[in-house]
Symmetry: D2
Subunit: 484 residues, 4 copies
């Protein structure tokens, strides 16, 4: 819970057969993707080839109100974006969608992921006289695509060519004056799927959970490397990049934590993964105990799975305070010990005198876990056996996940026993990478992704756990030094 | 979930041996009581006999920020209040605490409950020349107390006398220049309890859940009719009203829904009540099914209980969207069918093909239940057996709960079968009042409340379910016609 | 300019023959009275005997927006109030109109002025059991009126009786369920006048300047002691208090500074007074100079008068920066010398090499004057002859003007020569009290105020200048110690 | 007054010998330039070669608060910008300074003026693959400069080369990691001047009025075509573009209306120009009258001049309401006739029975003038002789002034007599272009601008009055069709 790991974004797009309040649909879609990025939100609407865009820092519900919807107006296409949470006014320029004008007209772009050759590309572009308003990869991608557009007959061909140049993770939704295009990098690091509404509207979303909200039907996942083009209501796939790499590298942490449990990613339900992670934890790290408790919200499914597998009763022993929002004033240093108490409470009648299996999805720095263990202990637990439904974090991610620095990752500094002692648990067990991969294998109907004859072998990126990066990694990993 | 029943308030108070940032402590305490009232919040701080007060419409975290805490400053006593959610600017004057000046100095008052003789008292007072700035009972109570104070040697004696005049439900916290006083009506309709902090501070709260947040230890419930006076750090009880009625009449709905599950009210854990309500439902309305699902958040404990009693697996089949806050724009009429979809999602891999027992805490108008049943049906449920962990609402409450009008209460208009058909379930069962009372009996160690030799027989108010009002009810039940 | 003397309020009221958006009319009226009080604003609207009220800290344009007007709705009567500028959240309760409920229904009250027996009345009331929510005299007046109402056949008779009890300065507008009442204290300290709109609406206002804004015609000043009652569209005067004192005591400073120059108060134009004050200054303190410059905005008329009388050219030598509003960040201590530079600039081509007569309306602490003199000196003035169009401040006001404390008033501490040296002028002259009174005499057509046969001899309050208080002054002059 | 003509911007910059709160200095500077643009404001600060920028819609005092200054932090250089007033959220991206990153690092740019070859340049750039985030010329200029920078040894040489490519009006302030550069187009359409602070800081500003506010001394105007480079505290001029055209073309309307009266532009005081414009009006359009009244604020100086020349007394007959700000709710259609009454009031004791010369700076659509004439007539004026201190508007401006469309300009549609009748005046006279030019000639010491041996012959742009455009005008004059 409450860890310091941030997804870098969620994207959403809609193509409607006619002009309507598409911005509202994107608004509801983005709200369902809000967990993927709490920092900034934006929507761009296309009406009669003219695109308007509104974006700002804040939650979707902060940025958009009736006045803003009036400004955006109707349209037949729209795309939206939510961005992860950092702080600072100066990052406003990095909000998306990015709306630019180039030789062929306007283009709006929403992007989830991180390029691994971003700095090289920026340098090349700058040497040609390009200027950058932001520090985001999205601007790099915009230049690459519009650059290719100069010598391409169509925007989709430009995107196709650009995908040879940009490396790393990207799930893109792009809107030109006349087309809506969705594209996923050949390794499929980040999810992207397609749905359909009863009026024939086509929608794209980072996660399938957004479809239920807007009354859309899930159609399918976009394949790694696939480019889907919607023009004049027709859907067309460009398959040039599909299968260009040996197998996909879907981010394991999407299943463990990022995605909403009601989402299904590349055919695998996040809820099912988490429940099975709990089951596997019970097998890998069995324990004799009275009750199983999950840390809400993200530890609940795994707790349920552990309970079922181990035959130990699942109980609701921790309650989440739903009123701790962004404007809440955190306790002062003097009250620091109580920080977790703002957000969680224990139900002592459940916990008192019990040997407790406590399930959380991850440990980052260890301070939060320490406070939760203390809270459960204070509620009268006789024993506390902490089980983590992910492997320990040991490595940085270059594909769009903002993991804490190595200096802060407790698993980089301490042994398992030391961590257990630090957090104050009686025992501690992490899910193994192998177990996680086994679950994914078990939950997949087939060991490949396919659509209409196109196939991509399944694979997963586990780099933050085991250091096995599926691509070259950036030479220089520092953030851009310039604040724009 | 999301029903139209509102608690009318939460109160909190602190007495500290020395001046300190007591306002912050109240802030955290109120945040834990926020579920009792989302409309308005206020804090009054007493420093060196001078009381300052800040209150406004909004959540606790909306009303208070660093600037407001600067305005309030330090003090050795403070009281706070949260108020239920309605709308409209004009209700700002009804925010509490109420801070007034009378012949003996200042007095701040925070009140949870509703008087049943409020209109009669207002008329009497107006005939003496009293003027009213608000429509709240708190102003009536203020007049009665300050009126008695004219002929009383102390504020606590004035409170004692006043309690013969005011009838109905009240859990009060009152701050005079030198004293902090907590009082609970002789029937004990509303909860009120006392805690202690490690530095000797005494705290009062509507619910015990607020104590964990601020690091306080639960001491005991205030007895029905008890007046607790804190002066110069000494705690004293005035027992004149204790046992004045035959038994207490604690609100049943506090256990069913209002209180936070981690609260313990008059010795009974809300969580335990709810889990047992689920167990009883399973006994009263058994069903052959595959899984039990609770509607989050308030149906989860009962679902857990049903599951255990019935031996049917508990599953997490509905997910709550935590980002649907106050500024969220609700879908238009055209999208109305999707309203519940903003707030809830189903996990189809859990539900698909299953016979589902669906547990919620109440049905008010039926429209929300209908939408939830549809959502579960759409997720592939083969059968849906709705079980409600409370009896049907049939009567208005005069003690501080804002139940919908009879015209809107589905149980007043339709038979059980009609309701089942309306919401679209395959079967429907409510908890009986008897079962609820049995649970409370079972969970009570003794059939009386006691402290230090004082005893009050336990009883419960079930009037909204069975019409058995434990007091005379107001002759005229209309709201005051005047907007102030 | 920018002195530390504050008027305590402006009041406005309207009675319309039919329901309409009277709140908007009051809004525009209050905006024209904004200079009388920048701290808080409020409007109460009466529709079908039900009164709603919205008030808050801030300028009229801050407090009211479209949403607030929706809340207030239509009505056939409304009253409004602006309040002077201090700071602090805790004063929100003192905003007006005050809306209360008493035995006969609702009453809304807007008040300009200060009672001199307020503390005595509060004590008496408290001894009867009255409670106070605010520290404002308006609540005292409310109690006195509603107290009298118990034994009076009508609200206007209650007001009439109350006026025997309340002493000091008050221009009141009161709204009952069916009547709009305007009343002015028998000494007529504060202005109050009546206008008429083309649709037959009757309006009351602190100053006549508000009438032009809303398209109303000035009808007449309310006489000192007069009570005007509007009921069912009929206007009626109660003359019981008219002429009860030997002569009126209109605040001299209303003419000098408070009122807008386009207002006509008790038959005398503020603009004309100020121009004549300039003329008199030229006669009382003649000087050989090249140009006359007024400090904008309030010194311009007097400068014009001085110029005409002395035959020295009037020039625009100081420009006011219109963008220095409430949210403007003042310069830090390190830049303090430049504080006046934020608000004023000099036109050096006008000033350079000239002997300048510099006219301002008052000197309070002297620091601002010192900075202005320096600014004019820096612009190249050869000589600077400061002329002040009011006498020196030497005494507190008990009638509603918030003059700085004696400790801060430069005229209480220093001789004329010392003040001249302190501010850095080459010469300094104040208007004498006699000259001011002569001007008023000259500008009055008659030495009495009259209407419809009722007469009140004219007089003026000059107490802040010469200490001649026209009433007893409060025994205890401290502000109420309690913050509410 | 209140016309529909907007200046397009104000720029400000500072170079300090050491790090300090330069953002605050820019804040005060921009506040003095606020009249040049009320829509948006921004500041970019350079500390140790890293530039941060904050900008947003709103007044300077709206955009910047203590939190923003914390974000910006200290620095040794900063530039700022204010932008003219339109509406719409979508223009946020056009706020300045523009902060970009290019091959040589960061660059911040603030620009006042309009290019005449902007569309051609955009097309050329887009054909090279450039993308545009905004519709502002500033982005075009950024590309041109950074493009030249690729083949230039320094940023100042890049600016020098760029100035051959960009055509039209521009007063630029540019900040690179190490240098502050100010540049003015060779025709000098827009003002730009330099000042110095006592600590050696160099400041640039659109108008000299900003210097007094921050305690800076005016040094000199930047010459048309001049580039001033500050690096390591040294000031250097690049004179390559100075004198490249036959004479300057300073915007006449800067003197008539845009600039603050206390500003001195290219050696001529705006105040002096306006007073002389009044004198000339009196000569060109003499009239027998009793008083001269100026429409505040911008008509006052000309009224003063008319009065002196004609020997007719100047009076203060119109008062401006200083409380009509941006959040003020304008009267509804039903009350429309009163719109000017919100902002202006008449002093009837001054006007009544008089023959009035009424001076305003311009007539655009005529509706405002019509209302003002009516107001003066209603105040009792016997005759009203309207005199306008500018020639009639007949042509669009391509250099940065947002004049209303020809369809709305009353002078394009009606004869002088028709306009006089429409506004309801007894006579009407405009200043002639020749008279305006004569005044400028008279007020110039020399008929050339010079500094350190460099000379530029003086000239003025009068195109909006007489259609004599000093440059080629854009072929396509439509605004960019794309909203970004």
């Amino acid at each position: 819970m409450y860890n310091n790991i941030h997804e870098e974004c969620g994207v959403f797009g809609i193509y409607k057969p006619h002009n309507a309040d598409v911005a509202k649909t994107v608004y509801y879609g983005l709200n369902s993707l809000q967990h993927r990025g709490e920092e900034a939100a934006g929507i761009a609407v296309n009406k009669d080839r003219i695109i308007k865009c509104v974006k700002d820092l804040g939650l979707v519900s902060d940025v958009f109100d009736d006045g803003v919807f009036d400004t955006l107006g109707d349209g037949n296409m729209a795309i939206g974006h939510v961005r992860y949470s950092t702080s600072g006014n100066s990052t406003k320029v990095n909000a998306q969608p990015m709306l630019i004008k180039h030789i062929k007209g306007q283009m709006a772009l929403a992007h989830n992921g991180n390029l691994t050759n971003s700095l090289e590309l920026r340098e090349e572009l700058e040497q040609k006289g390009c200027i950058f308003h932001t520090t985001s990869d999205t601007e790099v991608i915009s230049y690459i695509i519009t650059g290719e557009r100069l010598n391409s007959p169509s925007i989709e061909e430009a995107v196709t060519k650009a995908m040879y140049k940009i490396k790393g993770a990207y799930s893109l939704i792009l809107m030109s004056p006349a087309k809506l295009i969705a594209a996923r990098d050949p390794m499929g690091f980040k999810p992207l799927c397609m749905g359909e509404m009863s009026d024939g509207s086509i929608v794209f979303s980072s996660e399938s959970c957004a479809f239920a909200t807007i009354g859309a039907k899930f159609v399918r996942d976009i394949l790694p490397g696939e480019i889907v083009v919607i023009e004049n209501g027709n859907i067309r796939t460009i398959n040039e990049h599909i299968g260009r790499v040996s197998h996909s590298s879907m981010c394991l942490f999407e299943y463990i934590y990022f995605s909403r449990p009601d989402s299904i990613l590349d055919g695998i339900s996040a809820h099912d993964f988490r429940e099975n992670a709990g089951r596997s934890l019970s097998i890998e790290h069995p324990v004799d105990a009275d009750i199983v408790i999950g840390v809400p919200d993200s530890g609940l499914e795994a707790a349920r799975g552990f309970s079922k597998e181990a035959g130990i009763p699942y109980e609701i022993g921790l309650i989440k305070n739903k009123y701790v929002g962004r404007s809440f004033i955190a306790p002062d240093q003097g009250m620091r010990v109580d920080k977790v108490h703002m957000k969680l409470s224990s139900v002592s009648s459940v916990i008192k005198g019990k040997r407790v299996v406590l399930i959380d999805d991850s440990i980052v720095r260890g301070t939060t876990s320490k406070q939760i263990v203390k809270m459960v202990r204070d509620a009268g637990a006789k024993e506390i056996h902490m089980r983590i439904s992910s492997p320990p974090f040991l490595n940085p991610c270059y594909y769009g996940t903002d993991i804490d620095s190595k200096d802060n990752l407790i698993a980089c500094k301490y042994s398992l026993d030391e961590i257990r002692d630090y957090i104050g648990a009686d025992s501690l067990g992490y899910l193994s990478v192998d177990a996680a991969l086994s679950i994914l294998h078990k939950l997949s109907e087939k060991d490949y992704l396919e659509h209409d004859g196109m196939k991509v072998d399944r694979g997963y990126c586990t780099a933050c756990f085991d250091g096995k990066y599926p691509t070259d990694i950036p030479k220089e990993t520092d953030k851009l030094r310039f604040e724009i």
